[in-house]
């Protein structure tokens, strides 16, 4: 094993370095705040001869994902990065990528969607792509950003999966924040991630294959079922790959990671960079004798139903804290968590908190408040207001 190099780098650099270590062949990309540094770094790596790949400076994200699809269909390893309006503009192509079963990896600098225009962090962009058939991972810090990129390629390219993966790192909180990151040695990543050798058909004149052609009603549903089966099968592959990564590199990832959950009455469920603050809040509350824990979702797609049942099943209350909103309902995780427990007799009280939209900070006090509100609901044995908005600017609100 080579030694890991400690660097202090921005989140975008972490995902770019993670991608570079995976030796992609093609990098089609279009700049957008807060992901712009990714294509800039990739073109530098390529221009400086550190990475043997083709960079394509396309004219939109729609073209970026189209080029990813074309390149990946030839059997190339492909990576790109985007955010917000960029991911929204790719929407059409996201379904083509997963439908053609192409293991493309994309780093997303999670950013709010217009209107109004906002360049800061929330998860609306990737959550809006939830049903596109991509696997979705969310990083808490820059180290996770780098590691998840490497894991993403291995999982995506696994014969049992063959699906694209997006890795979310929070806008600015991670993309532009400098943190210490341990970077694995190239030879170790090479051993962990073999060269992409597609067993399925590729665009190859010697063995012609057609991608994405017409599927009439007699076949379409079977295609979709097979694709859905693949994402189901990815569950065990993710565990396998995360464990192998831990063995080689010393950092264990889990679909859901826990902190102080064993005896917790109330568990905060979080995603992305807010988990760091939430952990501090849990530490603080534990000192005050409160029985509170933290569960962090690293994998949102496939949604880890069994793991969540296991972790949250014995708690009295769960505070589902989300940086996304499905207007007319509530948060996406809340919906899915509710469905996860729908057939269970014993289930925790669940409350949904929407906060941190468009870069609004989430403070320790906010987590304490959400804990308290959940505890109150548990004690009252009823939830008056299932979805609540936290940390509103009173001056602006009505």
């Amino acid at each position: 094993m080579g030694e890991q190099k400690s660097l202090t780098i921005k989140g975008n650099m972490a995902t770019a370095l993670g991608a570079k270590l995976c030796r992609p062949n093609v990098v089609p990309a279009y700049p957008i705040t807060p992901s712009t540094l990714f294509p800039e770094k990739m073109s530098e790596f390529i221009a400086d001869g550190e990475l043997d790949a083709s960079m394509i400076n396309v004219e939109s994200e729609h073209s970026a994902m189209s080029a990813c699809i074309g390149a990946s269909a030839t059997g190339a390893r492909v990576v790109t990065a985007s955010a917000s309006q960029g991911v929204a503009l790719m929407h059409e192509m996201l379904f083509i990528a997963s439908g053609m079963r192409l293991p493309i990896v994309m780093a997303v600098g999670n950013r709010a969607l217009s209107a109004p225009i906002n360049i800061w962090c929330d998860h609306q962009d990737t959550i809006a792509s939830r049903d596109s058939g991509w696997l979705q991972f969310y990083a808490e810090n820059n180290q996770e950003g780098l590691d998840l990129m490497i894991n993403a390629f291995r999982i995506a390219e696994d014969d049992r999966v063959l699906l694209p993966v997006m890795v979310g790192i929070d806008a600015f909180v991670l993309t532009h924040t400098i943190e210490g990151v341990d970077v694995p040695a190239q030879e170790d990543v090479d051993n962990f991630l073999p060269t992409y050798d597609p067993k399925q058909g590729t665009l190859n004149p010697k063995e012609p294959a057609t991608f994405g052609s017409f599927a009439p009603p007699e076949f379409y549903q079977e295609f979709k079922q097979a694709q859905t089966q693949a994402i189901e099968d990815s569950r065990s592959v993710i565990d396998e790959v995360f464990d192998d990564y831990a063995e080689r590199f010393g950092r264990q990832y889990n679909k859901v990671s826990t902190f102080e959950c064993d005896d917790a009455d109330i568990i905060l469920l979080t995603m992305g960079s807010m988990s760091g603050t939430a952990r501090e809040a849990v530490r603080k509350m534990r000192k005050d004798g409160k029985k509170v824990g933290l569960a962090k979702l690293t994998v949102f797609r496939p949604f880890p139903m069994p793991e969540l049942k296991d972790i949250l099943g014995d708690a009295k209350g769960v505070a589902v804290i989300e940086r996304n909103i499905s207007p007319g309902f509530g948060g996406a995780v809340f919906a899915e968590l509710g469905a996860t427990f729908v057939n269970e007799k014993d289930r925790p009280i669940m409350k949904n908190f929407i906060t941190g939209l468009g870069g609004r900070d989430i403070f320790i006090e906010n987590f304490e408040e959400m804990y308290q509100k959940t505890k109150d609901a548990v004690e009252a044995s009823k939830v008056e207001e299932p979805v609540e908005w936290i940390n509103m600017n009173e001056e602006v609100t009505r």
Binding site: P39, E40, S43, A47, N57, S60
Partner: protein, 288 residues
């Protein structure tokens, strides 16, 4: 209205005071950026044409250039990257009474928004487009755009751009625009006159403003001083009339030199019914 103007002052007020939103100041533009000039020229044109601000809508996409409408005290739609002309089509067709002025960047207009651009021009929609060409994606920090000259540098082309650029004005003409002009920002009067022409033209008017981006483009391309970019424009442009004369009467050498230059001036002016008028006529005819 025009009579009361003297220098920068209209009826005792500075033009900035009349048209700009005080609360939006200071603006975000960098030192030496040409966007302030472009804004100024458009305000003068609007003033001289006596446009009613209550009947004028400014639209823009995303980019530094697209930030301009935010500073003007008038109705505005600040939309998404590349789509301003799509939105403008909706505004104009829904209410043809409105004067529609679109601010867009080179990337916004013919990169990501290229499709909307050629189709708005093809339809000869009666709007005025102020396309600010700084030859780069300014707002995102200097990535190469579809206008970046070959060999010039961007953050995504650290060893120089290898792609051939678009000529925005030629594209506008080819696509069907009825008024097209191109001016560098260092000339104030000509662009103001062209913008006025554009506002008066009953059809798709396209004014390309060559505008220095000091931060994202100049710095990376060895234009260290603001003046260097202005000099670059001076050295590399030729007036349309001068170009035509050179091609007719110049020596072979002069002709060769002229061929490499960017032609500026009023490039194209024809008369053709705009989409809204054709639509109205058709409806009228069918109703009769």
């Amino acid at each position: 209205m025009a009579e009361q103007m003297e220098g920068d002052v209209i009826g005792g007020k500075k033009i900035q005071e009349k048209y700009l939103r005080d609360e939006m100041m200071p603006h975000i533009f960098c030192n030496g950026c040409g966007l302030g000039n472009v804004l100024d020229y458009v305000l003068w044109a609007v003033e001289k044409e006596g446009f009613d601000m209550d009947k004028t809508v400014f639209l823009s996409g995303i980019g530094c250039s697209s930030r301009i409408p935010g500073y003007i005290d008038a109705d505005a739609l600040h939309t998404t990257h590349g789509r301003a002309l799509g939105f403008a089509t909706g505004v104009k067709m829904a209410n043809p009474e409105l004067n529609v002025i679109v601010f867009t960047g080179d990337g916004d207009c013919i990169g990501i928004g290229g499709n909307h651009f050629i189709h708005a021009a093809r339809r000869n929609l009666n709007i005025t487009v102020i396309a600010v060409n700084n030859y780069i994606y300014g707002m995102t920090g200097g990535q190469v755009a579809p206008t970046t000259p070959e060999g010039h540098f961007g953050t995504t082309a650290p060893y120089g751009n290898i792609e051939s650029p678009f000529d925005m004005s030629k594209m506008a003409i080819a696509a069907g625009a009825t008024y097209v002009a191109r001016w560098p920002v260092y000339r104030p009067n000509q662009p103001i006159n062209s913008i006025r022409e554009g506002l008066r033209n009953n059809g798709f008017s396209f004014i390309e403003m060559m505008s220095p981006c000091t931060t994202a483009y100049g710095r990376r391309n060895k234009f260290r001083e603001i003046k260097d970019l202005w000099d670059f424009y001076i050295d590399n442009t030729i007036l349309k009339e001068e170009y035509e004369m050179t091609m007719k009467f110049g020596s072979e050498e002069e002709k060769e030199a002229a061929k490499d230059k960017i032609i500026i001036g009023e490039l194209h002016k024809i008369s053709k019914k705009p989409l809204e008028d054709r639509y109205r006529d058709l409806v009228k005819e069918l109703m009769e």
